[in-house]
Structures are given as structure tokens and as C-alpha cells.
Amino acid sequence: MKRLAVLGIATLAMIALAPACAGRRSAEVTYRDPKMDFSLVQKVAVLPFENLTSANTAAERVRDVFMTMMQATGSSYVIPAGEVARGVDRASVAHPTTPTAEDVVNLGKLIGVDAVITGVVREYGEVRTGSSTAGVVSVSLQMMETQTGKVIWSASATRGGVDAADRLFGGGGRPMDQVTGDAVRDLLNRLFG
């Protein structure tokens, strides 16, 4: 009888925690060109990110955090946003968020960078589940080398959301800036790792 009670409690706990655990996002796949020597990428331009969210400035926020954190790694030099804007203007890139291979090659020549990074912000904001609210951010990035315009690295990351602790004890999740920092850190680890 006692064993049955313990089994029952354990089953109930598993049922309660299963959707909570599903709230946590697992690590996403990464593509890395095996023939590319990433140590040759010394200078990088980060183009404006595409925004697929309802938050108007989400793409600018994530791009700013990404540029600063990438610069902080010391592995590559990230050229200033104003210089990127000048390059995009002079190269007449029609869609800076989704440049063609030709655009990437032209940009490389104009602003003297080894690679160009583009990105898409897919989710940015608060999610609500029951009485819990938490920030969530989802970003995909691509790196293209400027010799041929080929994609040499691609990855995506999702961070934040309502986790088991939030569900059990209520309250809000982590602030958006911290969640964004986590997602960007994860992407940089996968780029330089």
C-alpha cells in the first residue's frame, strides 16, 4: 500500500513537471563550414537584423548586445554600426537584412571586412503561462565570408521562458536584457568554441 502511494506521488510529480520542463528550450543545431579557418576572420561587419517580432526595436537591441559581446571576446574586430551603414549605402544593398552573395562580396571590398553577419530575431518579449511571466528571446545568425559570399557558420539560440521553478513558485522569470545576454553568449560560444 505504502509503495503504491509513493508511486502515485512520483507519477503525479512527473505529470506536473513534464510541461514545465518542456518550457525550457533545448540547444539548437549549428552549422560550421569544416573547410573554413575561422582564425582568418579578423574583421567583421554585423548587418541590421531582421525583426519578426511585435517589439519594434527588438532587432536593434539584440544587434547592439551581440556587437558589444562579440567585440568583448577580442577574437574579431567588429566595425562600428555607422561604418556598416555607410557600406550598405555605398554598396546599394537593397535588403541589408538579407544580402545576396554579391552584396556580401561588395561590402567586403568597400568596408574591408573578412566576414558579414546577418541575423533574424524570431521571438522577443514576455511569455505568459498561467500566473507566470518570463522573458524569451530567439535569434538565428549567419556568417558569410566576403571572398565568395558563402555561408560559413549558422546557428540559432532560444533562451528564457517559463521554467519549472517559475511554475511551481510563481513570480516572473529573468529580465529581458539578461535573457538576451544569455542567448548571445551561447551563440558566441558556438562560434568561437
Binding site: 548586445v65 558589444t68 567585440q71 574586430y77 567588429v78 562600428p80 551603414a85 536584457d177 545576454g181
Partner: protein, 377 residues
């Protein structure tokens, strides 16, 4: 110990000789309204002039100042060009100009007010020497049973002007004595990068000449870019390690070089500014989040990124991203809560500037190693 006290007293007496309130004639310009709420700038100017006069300064009579504005067709009170600074000194015999801005103004409860003032000498080059901000919120010191809540701007305005006048009177132009103080961890940037090679080179040479450009901002926040930029001017100046140019001088150069920055300055634009102003560093950035009140009363928030470009080297040498809320890490009974968005802005900018300043103040031995590394990569 006694010797130390005597030496300190002597130093204090010696330093006050260079900046005695009685001798200082000041043109107190009407503040610029950065709130979009039609704040009473003329009354605030008068209150500021009264506070300065009470401390022995000699504000220039308003009629004389308006005559000068008329003669020189001056309408923009947000800054002063080199030419205007020289002319006002020669024609009205003032020692300098006090330029101010109303950064926050709210008449309905809870009332808010923030004033920023800076002192520009009426001398060639329009050198900027002192800058400070006084920000107040009706609920900043509620006390027991809300007895400390202020329900009138008639109390907040003199409180702010008196604080600014005290700060200015205590400032010493000869020594540039203005201290950054300790920065709390919550105000440090979430991420930042500084070039140690640049810091090593900068520490060895003359203090870098720096300009701060208005920060790029989403249209919804109106003047937030100007407010953040002015706090950068304030805290970069307070480091004492840099020569920060008066924003009015920078504005004149931007107009002359026809620089329109949509996404921060490009390298050719930075080169154009260098040709006009003999600059070393350009600081710019973007305000990504700004809210004076937040979702609950007294919970403002702000997010911004900042970038410094070393023009001679043509590369970015410092970048940072900061975000903070007024209710971050609040202690018991609301201790350490920040009610004013301008106080929050000031603290976050101070934290960001500290990352740059700390690099400049690192021990010489470390800098020597970095310089060596830069010379022999």
C-alpha cells in the same frame, strides 16, 4: 597627523584662490526644455540665478544678456560655440556661461524634476569645466507614513537649483576637483569591451580630446538621446583624464561638416570632425529602451549601447551595453530604489564610463605590457 591637517587646510585655501565666487560673473542662460512638457524655463533660470547669487556669484542681468542674444541672433540655448563664448566674454565681461537643461518635468503626482547645468568658460576654445545634474521625484524620500512625500514643484525646483549652486560653488576650476565616486555593481554595463592597447597609448600621451554625439534613438522617446549624451559628457568630464568638448562647439562642427548620423558616425564622418576639432575620440551610441515611469510608479528603465572610435587609429576602442531598472535589487522598505529616470540614466552612464576610466587607471606595469604587445604583435 597635525601636519597633515595643516597641509590639507593650506591646500584648500590655496585652491580656492583660483575660483572665488565673489569674483565670478556668470551668464545664466535659459534652460533648454528636453521634456516636451513646456516646463517654465524662465522661472527655473531665475531660481538658478538667485541660488548662485546667494553664494556670492554675480549673475549677468537679464536685460544685458538678452541684448547680447539679440545682437548675435542667438536662439539655441543648448550649447555655445567658440565664437559666441569669446564674444560674450569680451562684450559683457562675464567669466563664463552656465548652460542648463530641464531633463525631466512632471506636474501631476508624482511630480518630477531634473536639471542639468554645465559651466563653459568665456575664453578661446569654449572650455567645458564643470557639469552636474540634480534630479528629484516626489516620492524619493517618503519617510514614515508618507510624511516625506513632496506634492509641489515649488519645493522641488529650489531644491534642485540649490543643489546645483552648491555643487558649482564647491567645484574648483584650478584643480578640476570633481569625483566619480564608487559605482555600484548594478549600474555596471552588462557587457563591455575596452582596448587595453589604446588605454596604454592614451595614458602615455596627452589627455584625449573627446566629443560626445547625440545618441541614436527611436522617435517615441524624443529627447532621450540628448539626455543620455549629456550624461556621458558629464561623467567623461568628471574622470579628469579627458578633455571633453562643449556640445555647442561640436554642434557647430557637425553643421559645418554636414554630418548626418543615422546609425552612428562612419569613419569618413569621424575624419571630418577630426579635421575641424583636432579630436582623438568620438563617443556615440543608441538608446534602445527608455521609460520615465515604467509599469509601476517609480520604476523607470533604460537601455543603451555606447561606442568610442579612436579616430587616429580608425577603430572602435570601447563599446558597452547597459540596461537597468529603478527597482533592480531594491532592499527592505524600498531601500536603493531609484524613482527618477534621470538619476537612473546618470548612474548607468557613470557605470559605463567607469569601465573606460578603470582601463585608463590600471597600473603602469600592465599598460607597459599592453603597449609592448601592441608594438610587437
Amino acid at each position: 597627523m597635525l601636519l597633515r591637517i595643516v597641509a590639507a587646510a593650506w591646500l584648500c585655501a590655496a585652491s580656492t584662490v583660483a575660483f572665488t565666487a565673489e569674483r565670478t560673473r556668470i551668464a545664466v542662460f535659459p534652460p533648454v526644455d528636453r521634456t516636451g512638457r513646456s516646463s517654465p524655463v524662465e522661472q527655473i533660470r531665475e531660481a538658478l540665478a538667485r541660488s548662485l547669487a546667494a553664494r556670492g556669484f554675480a549673475p549677468l542681468p537679464q536685460a544685458e544678456m538678452e541684448d547680447f542674444f539679440r545682437r548675435h541672433r542667438i536662439r539655441d540655448m543648448g550649447g555655445i560655440s567658440e565664437e559666441t563664448a569669446r564674444a560674450i566674454g569680451e562684450e559683457t565681461h562675464v567669466d563664463g556661461v552656465l548652460l542648463s537643461s530641464v531633463d525631466d518635468w512632471e506636474t501631476v503626482e508624482p511630480q518630477r524634476l531634473a536639471l542639468t547645468s554645465r559651466w563653459v568658460a568665456a575664453a578661446p576654445g569654449a572650455p567645458l569645466a564643470w557639469m552636474d545634474t540634480s534630479a528629484h521625484h516626489a516620492q524619493e524620500r517618503p519617510g514614515a507614513f508618507g510624511r516625506g512625500v513632496v506634492n509641489s514643484l515649488e519645493i522641488l525646483v529650489p531644491r534642485a537649483t540649490e543643489e546645483l549652486a552648491d555643487s558649482f560653488a564647491a567645484f574648483n576650476i584650478a584643480t578640476g576637483a570633481q569625483h566619480r565616486g564608487r559605482v555600484a555593481r548594478r549600474f555596471r554595463p552588462g557587457s563591455f569591451a575596452v582596448s587595453p592597447e589604446w588605454a596604454a597609448a592614451a595614458a602615455a600621451g596627452r589627455p584625449p580630446r573627446v566629443v560626445v554625439l547625440p545618441f541614436v534613438v527611436d522617435a517615441a522617446w524624443r529627447d532621450a538621446g540628448e539626455v543620455v549624451a549629456s550624461q556621458f559628457v558629464r561623467w567623461l568630464l568628471a574622470t579628469g583624464d579627458m578633455e571633453v568638448l562643449e556640445p555647442g562647439v561640436v554642434r557647430a562642427a557637425l553643421l559645418e561638416a554636414r554630418v548626418i548620423q543615422e546609425d552612428g558616425p562612419s569613419l569618413p564622418q569621424a575624419d571630418a570632425l577630426r579635421a575641424l576639432l583636432d579630436l582623438d575620440l568620438v563617443v556615440s551610441g543608441r538608446v534602445t529602451d527608455y521609460e520615465a515611469m515604467g509599469s509601476a510608479p517609480g520604476s523607470p528603465f533604460l537601455g543603451f549601447s555606447a561606442l568610442a572610435i579612436d579616430i587616429p587609429r580608425r577603430q572602435a576602442i570601447w563599446s558597452s551595453f547597459s540596461f537597468g531598472r529603478g527597482d533592480d535589487r531594491v532592499g527592505m522598505f524600498g531601500h536603493a530604489r531609484i524613482h527618477s529616470s534621470i538619476t537612473l540614466t546618470s548612474e548607468l552612464v557613470r557605470g559605463a564610463v567607469a569601465t573606460l576610466d578603470d582601463e585608463l587607471r590600471t597600473p603602469r606595469s600592465r599598460k607597459g605590457a599592453a603597449a609592448e604587445k601592441a608594438a610587437n604583435p
